[in-house]
Symmetry: C2
Subunit: 430 residues, 2 copies
């Protein structure tokens, strides 16, 4: 992680010019139209036909702007600007996939701002005949959202080696289509992983919280994340007829699941604002009005800054699940259990980001992220930086998600200046 | 309803011969293979490709055995044996569709036993040169189960006029495919409703209870049904991110639904064995692990012999739903509410069925049905009779559903004798 010497202060950078800002606006408008919902949101699930079309649009844009485009085995779409084939890359990006009926900003902003920023930096450097010590690249990570395929953060996790290519490609959606098949259908199943040295990773993202807006701050520099305990829990009961079957003979998986959902909220409620929790997905089988359900699968999550707190809740919740199973005559199985430890992001990059903001006259603060992001994935193997821009009322995963144009542009300026600083001044200290 | 004089005692009937019994066994084996599950059950949803294939098989069998086949606008498949075009019909039947991963006997038994019985009766009458006062017909009613399309009992409800053709055809499955489209795809969307006078309707069905098996009785003659209160309830919340959204700002439709499910069981529990209740289906949107659900739709039912009891529970449950909505910041709407009153089946037919059983040396008792059946639908406009045969342990809507061959054959004998009695002795009393 520390083979590169990351600068601690910004160089005098050239901000994106008016053309670059218009370029960003046009690109954002164009991508927003792909998968647009009637309420003006976005419904663009990973590796769907819409995801294919927005990828095509990005790919064509990158090619037109001199990037070399490469797609890896899990569909991560890279746009590379290589000044020196032996030099490391400063990589930036995010994701173009969305949740169902979600907003226009989550993920897509980071990819488009990165593409536009790099195109501008590369043009300026080439005009000035500068060959910087680092190359630049932007990436659209596959299936960050984890809406269609689980787990989330698929592409970035494979890139860091946390998830194997085979496991990722074997993930299935609710219709049983594998990620491999879905990527092949849209033409984004690449042949090999990209093996490039990465000096630093930078991601810009909407905050999904209301602090920046409330305090009128342009940039949040994320320092740490909450931990998360994610469980997939399955109750098995027995199919029977909802009419004649005596109540005391029923083994109703949905009845058990309902109790488990209430138990999640009751556990979370004990921790005030120190814990969040939810059940976002529940699959019921056979899910027919006249049949007592034989199977119910819950996707449970608990989130907290404190891993200890999550461990405690995890133990207690396991006991609660056993009790519910015993009371309802069902069998319970925790199909998967993932404890995502909290991550501290690279402090040199964070400091550099603050310095860049100051030099641009943009107010910045340290932030914490509760949600997972590709930058958190990357940070496990690459020095990483996550920058937040304001979100109106913190509305996220909702069609009403909104960020002011001025905030989008400020984020683009900060990203552009940070990327140029890193590209021009990062030294290989090997 | 009382235009026909139904006989109160059986004529000396000719039982189905050994050939007819083998014919039934062969037909049952053949249909059981269409939609068979790995556990030996049946998965044959209404108007699915499998339903199309089993209908083809029945249609071909009927044509080979001299029936005139007609399909009405909602896919009800009739096999008619007409001795006198001006005479009314004695109709029998049930349904070929199944619940998901269900058993081999529910519904299909009544259709096949009816077809084999009528073929035998018609052959004998024609051999003897008898022209009886009634014609005979067998029917496969569309979508009795209500698994793929709601409401259940679709075909029989349209036949009686309780449901309009247009409403039935507009029903959609979970993929948004209408019943009209599904029937068209399998070639069972007929052009007109069948307008035939029906003197009586007879259905044989597995008991889905354990009494007949326990008491070693061959035939249950259903006298009455439980009432049912069926509700479709939708909670509307607000999509948000399961990570950063503060817990007190969440409006979680699934959290509300979980409470409502627990409330159903708690209400039912107050009534001992006088009430059954369930939530068999729950649809969650967007049902993505990282999104607080904005919509949850529950299919709730309460069943009891007493309509008053259901009315009381219905009122209290409406209040509970409002309370849950208020507590969870959601909005609740009862999208549909159907109170199915209890039905007393035709007593003359029931008496005739008992007499027929006695003359055959088969033990019979009066039964009550908790579940709905096409015969209950029909009974609102046509004198109807519902005969139960034993179900092993009462297992229903489950792949393990089982009825002994001897019981299937006894049911066929009783049905055949009852149909012949009705066909030969029912007088038009207009």
């Amino acid at each position: 992680m520390s083979t590169y010497s990351i600068p601690s202060s910004p160089i005098a950078v050239n901000l994106p010019d008016a053309d670059a800002i218009s370029e960003f606006d046009a690109l954002f408008r164009a991508t927003s139209a792909i998968g647009v919902t009637s309420a003006g949101g976005l419904h663009r699930l990973a590796a769907s036909e819409e995801d294919g079309r927005v990828r095509d649009l990005l790919r064509d844009w990158l090619v037109r702007h001199g990037f070399h485009v490469q797609v890896d085995r899990v569909g991560n779409l890279f746009g590379l600007v290589t000044f020196d084939p032996s030099a490391p890359y400063v990589l930036c990006g995010s994701h173009l996939d969305s949740q169902p009926s979600a907003g226009r900003f989550d993920g897509v902003y980071g990819v488009l701002a990165g593409a536009v920023a790099i195109a501008g930096i590369a043009r300026r450097l080439r005009e000035r005949g500068v060959r910087p010590p680092c190359n630049l690249a932007v990436v659209d990570w596959t299936n960050e959202e984890g809406a269609r395929f689980q787990p989330s953060l698929t592409g970035s996790s494979v890139f860091t080696g946390a998830l194997s290519v085979d496991d990722a490609l074997a993930c299935t959606d609710a219709q049983g289509i594998t990620l491999c098949q879905a990527l092949e259908r849209i033409g984004y199943l690449g042949e090999e992983m990209l093996d490039i040295p990465v000096a630093a990773y930078v991601e810009t993202h909407v905050e999904q919280g209301e602090r920046l807006e409330r305090e009128q701050i342009s940039i949040g520099v994320v320092r740490e994340t909450w931990a998360a305990l994610k469980l997939r829990v399955r109750f098995d009961g027995e199919q029977s007829h909802t009419g004649p079957t005596p109540m005391d003979q029923r083994r109703d998986a949905l009845r058990a699941a309902a109790r488990a959902i209430s138990a999640v909220y009751s556990e979370v409620g004990k921790h005030g604002d120190q814990m969040h929790g939810s059940v976002g997905r529940l699959d019921v089988y056979p899910n027919s009005p006249n049949v007592v359900p034989s199977k119910a699968t819950l996707y449970v999550e608990f989130r907290s800054l404190s891993t200890d707190r999550l461990e405690d809740v995890g133990k207690r919740f396991a006991q609660i699940l056993d009790d519910i199973a015993a009371q309802t005559g069902t069998h319970v199985e925790v199909e998967s259990r993932q404890l995502r430890a909290p991550v501290a992001l690279d402090s040199r990059l964070a400091q550099c980001a603050h310095d860049v903001c100051r030099s641009l006259g943009l107010r910045s603060v340290d932030s914490v992220t509760v949600a997972g992001h590709d930058a958190i994935s990357l940070s496990r193997t690459v020095p990483s930086c996550l920058l937040f821009i304001p979100s109106h009322r913190g509305i996220a995963h909702n069609e009403a998600e909104f960020t002011e144009e001025a905030d989008l542009h400020n984020g683009l300026r900060a990203l552009s200046a940070l990327l140029e600083t890193l590209c021009v001044t990062t030294q290989n200290s090997r």
